[in-house]
Amino acid sequence: MIQVLFFGPVAERIGKHALQVSHRAGMRLQDLRDELSAVYPAAFEIVCFVAANGTHVRDLSLVIDDGCEVAFMAKFSGG
């Protein structure tokens, strides 16, 4: 299972803070993003950053391990 997390404006557009997605061997962050953005296009319109296990990831060709925690995030506005 992959735990997918959403926060703030993305969570609001999706209507929830988390989703679980089945893991497939060789699955890349880009695959996960493509699948979810087909279902939630309005939310993914504002996604700017991706994190895997709490770390910023810039290269979405990263292969996801089973049990990974992935966050798709809008631009931050803390501070």
Binding site: F7, G8, A11, A51, H56, A71, K75, F76, S77, G78
Partner: protein, 141 residues
């Protein structure tokens, strides 16, 4: 003494934070701080409250690594970062950053760098609650 990097609901005291910072070294000649507060007016709209959402665990670890990076980059003697979550009213404190160094230049530059980096790196989102409705804030440059 409280941790140097914290995410918390409750307000903080600058005097206490500064005292904790100063306690780390008597060679500290300059301390620069930045305090971000909730304005009651933003982009022409009245704002009654600001509420926050955060990826808590990642936000904390990003703030911790930001502190260490600043200490190394500017040769600081110490630094502290506190960010509030939950809901804050107009005029209330949101974020506090303090940098202590032997001389003022390093402290001032580090403080400015840390708040810029925090806004870039730390997964926290603010929503302005106004009489006309709620609105997630688009980050300012």
């Amino acid at each position: 003494m409280q941790q140097a990097v914290r995410i918390q609901q409750e307000d903080f005291s600058q005097d206490e934070e500064i005292r904790a910072l100063q306690a780390s070294s008597k060679r500290m000649g300059g301390i620069a701080t930045f305090l971000g507060c909730a304005r009651d007016f933003s982009e022409g709209r009245e704002v009654s409250q600001i509420s926050f959402d955060a990826y808590g665990s990642m936000a904390l670890s990003e703030m911790q690594s930001l502190r260490l990076a600043a200490i190394e980059k500017f040769a600081l003697l110490d630094a502290r970062i506190v960010h509030r979550l939950g809901t804050v009213k107009g005029g209330e404190n949101i974020v506090f950053i303090a940098a202590g160094a032997e001389h003022r230049r390093a402290a001032l530059e580090a403080c400015s760098w840390m708040i810029d980096e925090l806004k870039q790196r730390v997964p926290i989102w603010k929503k302005e609650i106004t009489p006309q409705g709620d609105c997630w804030v688009s980050p300012h440059p």
